[in-house]
């Protein structure tokens, strides 16, 4: 498979960048030349080789940098990882899901040996090796969710199912596009979705909730969400807004290609078997405009999507300030040719 983990940063000097293989691996979110809000849930089944969809838990060249950035964020703000006491069973379910997926799909990097409840986990890139008793918290150096998610890319929320609703009762959130675990912890599905404009009117969330409540073991689903971020910053949480909010004013026609990033979240949901909870994973990907325009279909489409984006959505996603500058820059890469349907490069 030949994953080479890069030494790079998501803060300070911002050395994050994508290799050509990582660009093609990026989950480009627009399947046509305009964007419309939709819940668009599809089965989370293994997809095309070399893309973010190849494996249920995606590990890529940014793995070590992501894990380092998470450790920095957690050291500055421990409340980014919280779990209510009744979520312990779900935490163990998550350990099982992540360890078995990672070891199965990336055997040269991770290995898991199970002998009943005696587990042996090896994470070669991070040089971690632990033997523990599954289900016994005292045998791990950290609580189970924190232990495994410090070793797995993406944010994770554990949703408890009660009273016909889902409750965000545990999570680790260090690379969120402008939302806060500390604010949402303990909230129900309807409460934490309240800020999305227009969605309530069309009853999208009632249907989505019903769908989620009925999720079955062994049938994970996924959807894509997107926004834009200035500078390759993973941590754009409300708590640190003073640090990154100002970035939005720094975009100029000269620096669009390097500063403006398309940020895509591949959100996946699994029913967890023993706890009956649901895990909601939010795996973020960043792509610089300069990297995006190496794929002709994506440059045409990105330009057209931004041009036709309804102002209220641009405002909600926080990109109004630099939308026009970015459109102007992208226009050089849009020759007006038609684009083929679907996400993937031609």
């Amino acid at each position: 498979m030949g994953l080479m983990f890069k030494d790079e940063t998501y803060r300070g000097d911002f050395t994050f960048a994508n290799s050509p293989a990582a660009i093609r691996h990026f989950p480009f979110p627009f399947h046509e030349d305009k964007y419309m809000y939709a819940v668009n849930i599809e089965p989370h089944v293994p997809g095309r080789k070399g893309t973010a969809y190849e494996f249920p838990i995606d590990i890529d060249e940014h793995y070590l940098a992501d894990m380092r950035d998470r450790a920095i964020t957690l050291a500055e703000d421990p409340l980014r990882c919280q779990s209510l006491p009744h979520m312990l069973a779900a935490e163990w379910d998550l350990v099982e899901l992540l360890m078995t997926s990672m070891a199965r799909d990336y055997p040269e990097h991770f290995s898991l040996t199970r002998d009943g409840d005696q587990w042996h986990w090896i994470n070669r890139p991070m040089k971690i090796e632990d033997k523990f008793t599954f289900g016994n918290v005292a045998t791990l150096p950290l609580r189970p969710m924190e232990y495994i998610t410090r070793q797995c890319q993406g944010d994770f929320c554990l949703l408890d199912q009660r009273d016909g609703d889902l409750w965000m009762d545990a999570g680790i959130v260090t690379s969120q596009a402008d939302w806060s675990l500390d604010f949402d912890i303990g909230m129900s599905f309807k409460e934490w979705h309240a800020p999305v404009p227009m969605a309530h009117e069309i009853g999208i969330f009632d249907r989505a909730l019903k769908f989620l409540l009925a999720m079955q073991i062994g049938h994970p689903v996924r959807r894509l969400n997107w926004t834009m971020t200035i500078n390759p910053r993973l941590d754009t949480a409300p708590e640190t807004y003073p640090k990154w909010g100002i970035d939005r004013t720094t975009v100029t026609p000269e620096n669009v290609g390097d500063k403006v990033h398309l940020r895509v979240e591949l959100q996946a949901l699994w029913r967890l078997p023993r706890s009956n909870a649901i895990v909601f994973s939010i795996r973020g990907y960043l792509l610089k405009m300069r990297e995006l325009v190496t794929i002709p279909k994506w440059s045409r489409r990105m330009h057209r999507v931004l041009k036709t984006l309804p102002p209220e959505i641009a405002a909600y996603k926080g990109l109004s300030r630099y939308q026009q500058t970015t459109i102007d820059w992208l226009s050089k890469y849009d020759d007006g040719q038609p684009t083929s349907l679907g996400f993937f490069p031609d």
Binding site: L84, H86, M87, A89, D160, Q161, R162, D163, K210, L213, A214, Q216, I217, G218, H219, P273, R274, S275, N276
Partner: protein, 319 residues
């Protein structure tokens, strides 16, 4: 088909009480069955000649041993097939299919103490729930009522395993569950669960409400089966198909028999998955589900096709 199917073999059949049989199911071609949580059920699909019988049954085996599943089935007084087939025709070795487990009756893990109330065959979900509570070391007590010693399943074994936490009541000896005392004076953070005949569930729900219990601390599961009615016709607005529904058939069963896949999870009017929009209806809708609100039922534009039906000639569905 909305649920994924797992092939199993009936490995053991045992009569555990009058009219109650236990089935042990082992996987075919897999080393183990999916993990599940206490209170989950599976849907058994049993081929019976031309038709397929599909009934939900609670998993009563331990969630910590998924080398097999166990279910217990009471023979319904006037069975249309499912439970009668299990009692009269199922033999050890028979291959059948089951759905992946679904849990509509999970315990609330925030609770500090759980009170479980079972009536008759309603004991089944509590069998797996108690294993889980024991494993998690959470306090619980079971109050289990049954007609008589002969008609009650597992009560001896439960007493042995869980000791003083199990309270047994035999109706023919004039013993009744002391509901009022049970519900009064429980410490904060106690949750109550009931599964059994509908009348018993209503008794507990009303009792808990009158005793001032918050609704979110009271949980129940009804083993509802679709009640019979008269024949009518379903018209499918989108596909233009017409499907007859017999007096002892649910609309869901009739659609399946006609080769049409409609979504379902519980087949008992509880989960909401089979909700279908009514385009028009010549007749009176008989809502038999526990999912739609009274207002929604009165509005008459939605129906749960797994249990509800129409007393009239034709209903047109948005399918």
């Amino acid at each position: 088909m909305t649920t994924n199917q797992i092939r199993v073999r009936v490995a053991e059949v045992e009569t555990v009480a009058a009219q109650i049989r236990r089935l042990k199911l082992v996987p075919i071609g897999m080393s183990g069955l999916p993990d599940f949580s206490g209170g989950a059920h599976t849907i058994l699909s049993i081929p019976d000649g031309e038709r397929t019988l599909r009934n939900p049954y609670s998993l009563m085996s331990s969630p910590y041993d998924t080398s097999s599943y166990e279910v217990s089935v009471l023979k319904a007084a006037e069975s249309r097939g499912g439970s009668a087939f299990i009692h009269d025709k199922i033999r050890e070795g028979l291959p059948i299919t089951i759905s992946a487990p679904v849990n509509l009756f999970p315990v609330d893990r925030r609770a500090r103490r759980h009170i479980l109330i079972a009536g008759g065959i309603g004991i089944t979900p509590f069998m797996s729930i108690m294993r889980q509570l024991e494993h998690d070391d959470v306090p619980f007590e079971l109050h289990y009522g049954m007609r008589s010693q002969e008609r009650g399943a597992y009560w001896r074994q439960l007493r042995e395993t869980y000791g003083h936490r199990v309270h047994i009541y035999f109706e023919d000896q004039g013993q009744t569950i002391p509901l009022k005392t049970l519900l009064d004076g429980q410490p904060l953070g106690t949750h109550v669960y009931v599964c059994g005949p509908s009348t018993m569930i209503d008794w507990v729900l009303n009792g808990a409400r009158d005793a001032g219990w918050p609704a979110e601390n009271v949980h129940y599961e009804r083993f509802s089966a679709p009640p019979p009615g008269t024949s009518f016709t379903v018209e499918l607005a989108r596909s233009g198909k017409t499907v007859p529904v017999g007096p002892h058939q649910s609309m869901l069963e009739a659609l399946e028999a006609a080769g049409i896949d409609a979504p379902y999870l519980c087949r008992g009017g509880a989960c909401g998955q089979c909700e279908t929009r009514i385009v028009s209806c010549a007749g009176a809708i008989q809502h038999n589900d526990h999912y739609l609100s009274d207002a929604e039922k009165a509005a008459g534009d939605k129906i749960m096709i797994c249990v509800s039906r129409v007393d009239g000639s034709t209903v047109t569905l948005d399918l």
